[in-house]
């Protein structure tokens, strides 16, 4: 066990014994400087902490360390060390260079920021090599690759949409990297919609509209993340519209991501909408189990973890809708994996990830809530939804409710029937089968159902 692990483990024990404010205040930025001859030196950030740990928590700390350490511990000493000094002990990941007496960096007052500053805002982690394209995002991946190979010539604009944590931003960065790899001279601008908006507001406020236009209209590839935030910002929409036109006319590539298809973005002008739908629209759906396993496997390999197929399988099974969560789960397992120096069993993994499974269980909602959500989504009264009327405007939502109750709540058919105004179980079976078929056939219904699902998960 390294000193860091020993200290982390001891902190874990102390955290339970102390109140949260006390723990956070007194154990923040502490670490073990040395562990030699049964003597431990603990670094603390200031003299207050030193005094307090010595006078108040010393017996507790000693006990915790003795409980965990395999070797006997005779003495614990506290010493004020700042992070900078700590670097000398090799505590930091890489040793910091000695601070030399450098001349003062009085820099001339910089004029307002120049465009070059955010030309290289791409995350090096997000490349096509690291993107695992399952069936769920074949189209988006293929389109992104095509765009990266011939920017501005194939699909312009490319519009990628899909739920949270499914890799939209990853694809966006990957396009940027790929283009730069082919032709290093190209100007790539990656911005979030929020940054675009802020820049525009800033430009308007400080009378620098011309500079703003110069920045955005002179790029070869414009990558905009989360465009849905443009909704109901009219001025920014107009500016974006013109920016878009300028780029598009000169065959420069625009790639846009959003969490929903263009049509579903509320309060967006028609002329902009039609432009967003001009090129290629590709969706990224939630990955299937096989893809999830593949993702977990690759990421585990990246982190040098060797996990048994059962564990990979288990992790992929419990997190289903979000790749970010999937990586989060893996990171947690990794932390324990590092601590335990290898061997980790399926039981331990289950234990570590119990909180994830627990939150998922908590998310399960009641039949009443589900009915509410569907009624709200289709904008119909609950009474009508549960009533006898068989108009199409009501029967479809009703059937979707039954389908979702079966899919999401795993209710029995008789149960579904009785929840929806005392219907027969055969009605429920029919509704389920009908919608299941329609989902395959109609994109519209699939989208509706996905949106309702999101609402369910977001409760």
């Amino acid at each position: 066990m390294t000193p860091q692990q020993l200290w982390q483990a001891s902190l874990g024990e102390l955290e339970i014994l102390l109140s949260k404010p006390n723990f956070n205040t007194w154990f923040k930025e502490t670490f073990i400087v040395s562990h030699e001859n049964n003597r431990i030196i603990v670094a603390v950030p200031n003299a207050f902490t030193k005094n307090w740990l010595e006078k108040k928590y010393h017996p507790m700390i000693l006990k915790a360390l003795r409980n965990i350490s395999a070797e006997p511990i005779k003495e614990v000493i506290y010493k004020v060390e700042t992070a900078r000094q700590a670097a000398q002990y090799g505590h930091a990941a890489f040793p910091m260079p000695e601070v030399e007496k450098t001349p003062m960096p009085i820099t001339p007052i910089p004029l307002p920021s120049t465009p070059e500053t955010y030309l290289s805002s791409l995350n090096p982690q997000y490349t096509f090599e690291k993107f695992i394209a399952g069936k769920y995002c074949e189209l988006a991946n293929a389109a992104a690759l095509a765009v990266a190979a011939q920017p501005g010539e194939v699909y312009n604009p490319l519009f990628i949409y899909g739920g949270v944590g499914l890799g939209k931003t990853h694809l966006l960065h990957a396009i940027g990297h790929e283009v730069l790899r082919h032709s290093p001279g190209k100007k790539i601008l990656f911005v979030t919609c929020e940054k675009f908006t802020n820049d525009y507001i800033q430009a308007v406020r400080s009378g620098k509209a011309k500079e703003f236009k110069e920045v955005y209209r002179n790029v070869d590839v414009l990558l905009i993340d989360d465009i849905q935030f443009l909704s109901s910002k009219e001025g920014t929409q107009e500016e974006f519209f013109h920016t878009f036109n300028t780029l598009h006319q000169t065959n420069r590539q625009v790639v846009i991501t959003s969490d929903r298809p263009p049509k579903a973005i509320p309060a967006i002008e028609n002329r902009l909408l039609s432009r967003l739908e001009w090129g290629m629209i590709a969706d990224v759906a939630a990955p299937d189990l096989e893809t999830r396993i593949a993702i977990v496997e690759t990421r585990a390999k990246d982190k040098n973890m060797t996990l048994s197929p059962e564990i990979l399988n288990y992790i992929a099974t419990i997190v289903h809708s979000n790749i970010r969560e999937l990586e989060g789960a893996l990171n947690r397992v990794n932390a324990h994996f590092q601590l335990s120096k290898g061997g980790i069993s399926l039981e331990q993994v289950k234990q570590i990830l119990s909180s994830i499974t627990a939150t998922h269980a908590k998310k399960s909602i009641s039949a009443k809530q589900l009915i509410n959500i569907v009624a709200e989504f289709f904008n119909v009264d609950i009474a009508d939804l549960l009533g006898e009327c068989r108009k199409k405007e009501l029967s479809l939502p009703r059937q979707i409710t039954m389908y979702l109750m079966r899919e999401e709540l795993k209710s029995s058919y008789p149960m579904i029937g009785s929840e929806l105004g005392g219907r027969d179980h055969t009605t429920a079976i029919h509704a389920y089968n009908k919608i299941a078929k329609e989902v395959e056939a109609s994109q519209k219904i699939k989208q509706d159902i996905d949106l309702i699902r999101q609402r369910i998960y977001n409760i």
């Binding site: 200031n46 207050f48 307090w52 004020v80 601070v99 007496k101 001339p108 910089p110």
Partner: protein, 372 residues
């Protein structure tokens, strides 16, 4: 615990200590001040875990003991008491019964056990400075410092005790730099350099009394302690090496002018109205008229407001020159110059300008031009 003192003394103690208590801390006990009676002395303590303040309150301590009281409530309450004798008795349940004139109050306190221990350092290698001097230094240097998380060493004030029995304070935000040297009345034989957090000096300037006394300074183990008869303020210092700012103070100049402070201030202020918002630029143009005489033209123009030019006669040596400065930075420095006249030395439009008072050599102000 049982103590008696005057309302004035207790209120003064609370004013000194309660300010740092209870700001942006995660630990609830830190919103309190600690009232302590020990060996006949009454003390008030507060801390935010970076700075610790202890203030001795004149009065009579009959029984030893301590209690932690909410800082804001207590100081507000004591400020409203009549200027009379106050008797405080604290029960075992940490309830303070306060009697003052016809006022009688019971205040709920917290057990003092959880109150952090204010660290102390050994009182050796003493430096003594007049309070008036250290206050002047703080006032003339602190304004140039800006809190910057990415450069912690620049977020504090450089403080150096020199063998020549002087104390130097310097601060910069990388655009301007202020340095003041003050005399030391008593010094150990040696030198010391530390970086003191901005907040510590702000607090020190706030709590030091206005009387012509002295303050003792001790520096050890990354900590600095300021002591007067009544107050102890201890703070951590900022780790790291302060950049060698002496290197950037220009030793030569191409133009050096002697300018009347009031005239210059007025000219810069009037030009500032016409400077561009956000940039705050005013142009200073030096031209020589005859041997030893010159003119300084201060101008600014802004497309929306208009343009403005003032010419003032100056004593000048060296050639023509032109610099563009941020008027705020310039005025910040001018307003702190002693006497009637300053010397203004410039090299070119991209090098720092040096401003000094003619009467007071101890204060130096350096400002960077705006790049054109």
């Amino acid at each position: 615990m049982k103590i008696s003192c005057t309302q004035e003394n207790l209120y003064r103690g609370l004013q000194v200590t309660s300010h740092i208590a209870g700001k942006e801390s995660g630990l609830p006990i830190l919103t309190n001040v600690l009232l302590k009676a020990e060996g006949g002395l009454i003390t008030l303590c507060s801390t935010n875990l970076e700075i610790g303040i202890q203030c001795r309150v004149r009065g009579k301590a009959e029984h030893d003991g301590s209690v932690a009281l909410d800082a804001r409530i207590t100081s507000e309450y004591v400020s409203l008491l009549p200027k009379d004798r106050i008797d405080i008795e604290v029960s075992a349940e940490s309830v303070a019964s306060v009697q003052c004139g016809t006022f009688s109050t019971k205040m709920k306190g917290v057990v003092a056990d959880d109150f952090p221990i204010i660290p102390t350092i050994e009182k050796k290698e003493q430096t003594v400075v007049k309070i008036a001097d250290i206050k002047r230094a703080i006032q003339n240097v602190l304004f140039a410092v800006k809190y910057d998380e990415s450069r912690p060493e620049l977020s504090g004030v450089y403080m150096a005790i020199q063998e020549a029995n002087t104390l130097v304070l310097a601060g910069t935000d990388a655009y301007r730099l202020a340095e003041l040297t003050v005399p030391v009345t008593k010094n150990f034989a040696g030198t010391k350099e530390v970086i003191v957090p901005l907040r510590t000096l702000q607090e020190l300037a706030r709590i030091l009394p206005d009387v012509s006394e002295t303050v003792e300074i001790y520096i050890h183990d990354n900590q600095i302690l300021f002591c007067t008869d009544e107050i102890d303020l201890i703070s951590k210092t900022i780790a790291g090496q302060y950049p060698d700012y002496k290197q950037i103070i220009p030793q030569n100049h191409n133009t050096k002018a002697v300018i009347d402070i009031q005239e210059l201030t007025k000219a810069v202020k009037s030009s500032s109205i016409f400077s561009r918002a956000g940039l705050n630029d005013v142009t200073l143009q030096f031209a020589s008229v005859s041997e030893g005489k010159g003119s300084l033209t201060i101008s600014a123009s802004n497309t929306t407001v208009g343009e403005h030019t003032v010419v003032i006669p100056v004593k000048m040596e060296g050639g023509e020159n032109s610099v563009v400065l941020n008027h705020r930075y310039l005025l910040d420095g001018l307003s702190r110059m002693q006497g009637d006249q300053i010397s203004f030395a410039a090299i070119d439009s991209n090098s720092p300008c040096v401003i000094k008072s003619l009467e007071d050599e101890s204060y130096l102000y350096l400002v960077m031009p705006i790049r054109q």
